[in-house]
């Protein structure tokens, strides 16, 4: 399977534009012609197709092609970077000259070169754009629309989007080794507006994976998103003002794992820790979370949105333990930060596209299951909040402060989930909050494949997951003081 992906990548990115091994050698020689520690050339050809259904009609469709190469030369902790949207040799050589200008003197130790057989592919190298006919794509969206409209007469507006992407990449490292990958990615989303007595609320649901579009036909997923979006919106029609202040908070399984992504994930990325700007810097071996917490970043889960057979530097992705029983075990690394910190790369070197520099990024970040039944966890709270769906989050790496915004939450009163409350932002300090996790459920779930992570202006697909868990005290940002 992997050899199939590499064959497709070579065909698309080298043979079609007429680049030979000798040409690649010339480009790499140009990059390496001054004293540099590492260099790479990243080739990419990405196609994306998106469709929007609104007001019951197929309103828009769009097709896009992104193609180019990014060239990087590294000397110590200095990086030179240039890219071109042309795969012609002369343009690649010009970009190589621009990128190598960073290296002026001295060599700091050559970067490790990935050797050995390429890893087994974690997804099939299909082209999802061609995995269903246009008619079938439209029928799929209509199913989701029909499900949402049939779910409740209070549904006023339904917007369904369907996106399929086919991303072919090839990386050549300074040892001349070429790594390739073919990455399918599909995503579907349903957004609804409901209205009752003049009050309007929204709900949305969706999913995705690294596979063909028939993913959404399986298990009636498309209809399921429609039903779920309506359910969420109707819950919010009845929601009261959320409380404000410190409360025990129980987070549901799956997507609420965005907590881990913000509270610890970003803070454990190698670049921040090499520079000493993270609240977790220099804390390997220390207790940074309660003993109940084991947190993993795992890029090796088959077909998952956040998974990668190889990262954007050619390193196989890994199953990396970040925190084990509360003890900080390691950071997520790309090649440059790994070399500068004297550790091995972990397969987390990712970039949005050829026009962006790679850096350490998460893949699928989740917490392992614990001992408690979810009902037991909820039953242990006298007065608190039960939050099951979230929008996005954000973190200040340096101070450790993070937020994430609930868009479906309920009060817990006397150990029971009672009334729905309006969305509210939750805020805390990463290491403090992780130490306040007092119960971990036995119901680990991963999200449905919807996550996108932003860092320094670059977006990459990611996954999150967790079991139900209880945080003894967390600040809830409602209006009911």
């Amino acid at each position: 399977m992997t050899s199939q992906a590499i064959a497709i990548a070579r065909q698309t990115l080298l043979d079609t534009p007429g680049l030979s091994e000798a040409h690649l050698g010339q480009v790499m020689d140009r990059l390496l012609s001054r004293q540099v520690d590492a260099a790479d050339v990243f080739f990419q050809y990405a196609r994306l197709e998106s469709w929007v259904l609104e007001d019951g009609i197929i309103k828009e469709g769009s097709h896009s092609i992104e193609q180019g190469a990014g060239l990087r030369a590294i000397s110590g902790d200095k990086t030179g970077f240039a890219y071109t949207d042309s795969l012609e040799l002369s343009h690649l050589l010009d970009a190589a000259s621009a990128a190598r200008a960073i290296a002026q003197a001295g060599q700091h130790g050559t970067e490790a070169i990935s050797k050995g057989a390429p890893p087994a592919a974690l997804y099939t190298p299909v082209n999802p754009l061609e995995s269903l006919s246009e008619k079938e794509k439209i029928e799929l969206m209509r199913q989701a629309d029909a499900a949402a409209r049939a779910a409740d007469p209070r549904v006023q507006q339904v917007i369904v989007s369907l996106v399929a992407a086919h991303d072919v990449i090839l990386v050549m490292d300074n040892g001349g080794q070429v790594h390739g990958d073919v990455r399918p990615l599909v995503r579907m989303n349903v957004q609804v507006i409901v209205e009752q007595d003049g009050r309007r609320e929204q709900g949305s649901s969706g999913g995705g994976a690294r596979c063909a579009l028939d993913f959404f036909l399986a298990e009636q997923r498309a209809q399921g998103y429609g039903d779920e979006a309506v359910r969420q919106a109707l819950v919010n029609l009845d929601a009261e003002a959320a409380p404000a202040g410190m409360l025990p908070v129980v987070l549901g399984p799956g997507w609420p794992g965005v907590l881990l992504h913000e509270a610890v994930g970003h803070g454990l990325e190698g670049d921040f820790n090499r520079k000493g700007t993270s609240a977790f810097s220099g804390r390997i071996g220390e207790q940074v979370a309660s003993k109940l917490c084991t947190v993993i970043d795992d890029g090796t889960l088959p077909d998952r949105r956040g998974s990668l057979t190889i990262d954007d530097e050619g390193t196989p992705s890994g199953n990396n333990v970040l925190i084990e029983n509360g003890i900080l075990k390691g950071y997520m690394q790309d090649k440059m930060n790994a070399r500068l910190m004297g550790v091995a790369p972990t397969g987390n070197g990712r970039r949005e596209s050829y026009a962006h520099l790679p850096m350490p990024r998460m893949t699928n970040t989740y917490m392992l299951a614990g001992q408690h039944a979810p009902e037991e966890i909820i039953g242990s709270v006298k007065n608190g909040l039960y939050a099951v769906n979230f929008g996005g989050g954000q973190v200040d790496i340096t101070s450790g402060k993070f937020v994430f915004s609930a868009n479906e939450a309920y009060l817990i009163e006397d150990g029971k989930v009672t009334r729905p409350v309006k969305g509210a932002t939750l805020i805390g300090n990463g290491p403090e909050v992780m130490n306040r996790i007092s119960m971990v459920g036995n119901d680990l779930a991963l999200d449905t494949g919807v996550g996108t992570c932003g860092k320094e202006g670059q977006s990459v697909p990611v996954g999150v997951g967790q079991p139900t868990l209880k945080i003894d005290q967390l600040t809830v940002g409602g209006t009911a003081a």
């Binding site: 469709g61 769009s62 896009s64 990128a99 246009e134 700007t277 915004s405 805020i427 409602g478």
Partner: protein
């Protein structure tokens, strides 16, 4: 290529796209083409850390067959890519539905002339000079105080872009623009506590950028001011959004006024034209024709001529932000808003920042907002925040890990004051916003 040759080249690509669309059977079409080059140099801890040469091309085409449409875009401007993109758009249009609101903007609204808004001032700065400027900026930050112990660096970024938009009404327009920015982020340390903050400036003309050392010092002062941050008890109290975070409240307003949110009935400002949405001393305007303005544009993304307008006059909502699609859905006319609001400004009630602190007497100043807790359907607002505690009209100490919550519709109506302290970078001009009572979540 010279700048003129570049523009002529892009014009030819647009003409070719429109011609190809016609040849492939489209009854109407529109196309945009852009080309950008830039240089970004980052200096960290005194050393050049990253040199990035940017260079982006983009082409987008939308075709209409009756009222069915399809779009395509690519980074490749060569003739083969033009044919393929048009073919892809046409293929898509065979499967979309007839939509009565779809189509080009009305021919009568096209910009008849394209005034020169003085947006193009390339900066002939080489890598070494750029590094010197960034270094001067970071040095000023690091040298300000020994508690500035670490840095994320200072970055100088300069870019030049050209774009052309054309459609089958016969409209073609475009022009080159430049943008330059300098930013700096540093870390202040006190004991175990680390606090990061940043500052920046951006301008069309390099000479209009703030002094690099002043930007660096401001970044350092902001980080230092956060040291010894405390928490605060949960309460309702007056809240002042400092001028550098107040633009986010303006952007939420623009989000709620977007035509697409209005026809979807997914905005808390639905059906509010002609009603009081702010106090009567508030006027909010956009001025797309501002010379050298950071968001200036003589026509919108559909070729519609832009002009000065008031969105809110004396507190009364005057209109929405409509592109041609939303306008048709609502039975209204385009407000040249395809692509967003351009150079927005809110009137001030006249107070300085210090006068606003005195007027507030006791409460919270917000200097940072975090997260995405803004619901434009309901107006419900809940964000993470940091800032300062104020008593006796003076700043007492920094606070962090709080939330600020309310409802935007109520907040806009009950806005107490907008300061005259609007000297902030960016295309949204506002002073600080004072509210009488919002909920602060904390301990």
């Amino acid at each position: 290529m010279t700048d003129n040759e570049q523009i002529d080249h892009l014009k030819q690509v647009v003409a070719d796209l429109l011609q190809e669309a016609k040849a492939q059977g489209a009854e109407a079409a529109e196309a945009g083409v852009s080309s950008q080059t830039g240089l970004s140099v980052t200096v960290r801890l005194g050393e050049t850390e990253t040199i990035e040469h940017t260079s982006d091309n983009g082409l987008g085409v939308t075709v209409y067959f009756g009222q069915r449409k399809g779009s395509a875009n690519t980074t490749d401007l060569r003739p083969a890519a033009i044919r393929e993109s048009v073919a892809a758009a046409c293929r898509i249009a065979r499967h979309t539905s007839a939509d009565p609101a779809a189509g080009l903007a009305d021919a009568g609204l096209m910009a008849e002339e394209v005034p020169d808004l003085d947006l193009f001032h390339p900066w002939d700065v080489d890598v070494d000079q750029a590094a010197e400027i960034a270094r001067a900026c970071e040095d000023a930050a690091r040298g300000l105080d020994p508690r500035i112990t670490n840095s994320e660096g200072a970055t100088l970024y300069t870019q030049c872009s050209s774009f052309i938009y054309g459609n089958s009404h016969g409209f073609t327009g475009g022009y080159p623009t430049s943008r330059h920015s300098l930013s700096c982020a540093v870390i202040a340390q006190g004991g175990e506590e680390m606090q990061r903050d940043y500052w920046y400036d951006s301008a069309r003309l390099a000479g209009e950028l703030d002094d690099p050392a002043a930007i660096g010092r401001e970044a350092a002062q902001r980080a230092l001011a956060r040291l010894n941050s405390q928490r605060l008890g949960t309460r309702e109290c007056p809240v002042l959004f400092r001028a550098d975070v107040a633009p986010s409240l303006m952007r939420s307003l623009f989000g709620a006024l977007r035509g697409h949110a209005v026809y979807r009935k997914s905005t808390f400002l639905l059906d509010r034209i002609g009603t009081q949405v702010f106090p009567d001393w508030v006027t909010i305007s956009e001025d797309p024709l501002l010379p050298r303005g950071q968001a200036s544009a003589p026509f919108d993304n559909e070729g519609v001529a832009t002009r000065y307008r008031e969105l809110v006059s004396d507190g009364v909502l005057q209109g929405y932000l409509l592109d041609s699609y939303a306008a048709r859905k609502l039975g209204m006319q385009s407000t040249a808003s395809a692509g967003g609001v351009r150079n927005a400004r809110i009137s001030s009630s006249g107070q300085s920042f210090d006068a606003l602190l005195r007027e507030m007497d006791q409460g919270v100043v917000i200097t940072e907002l975090m997260g995405h807790g803004t619901n434009l359907v309901t107006g419900d607002y809940s964000r993470g925040a940091a800032g300062f505690w104020v008593e006796g009209g003076e700043i007492q100490y920094p606070i962090e890990e709080i939330t600020v919550a309310g409802n935007l519709g109520d907040m806009y109506r009950q806005l107490v004051a907008v300061g005259a302290d609007d000297a902030i970078p960016g295309s949204v001009k506002t002073g600080s916003w004072l509210f009488d009572r919002l909920t602060i979540g904390g301990d």
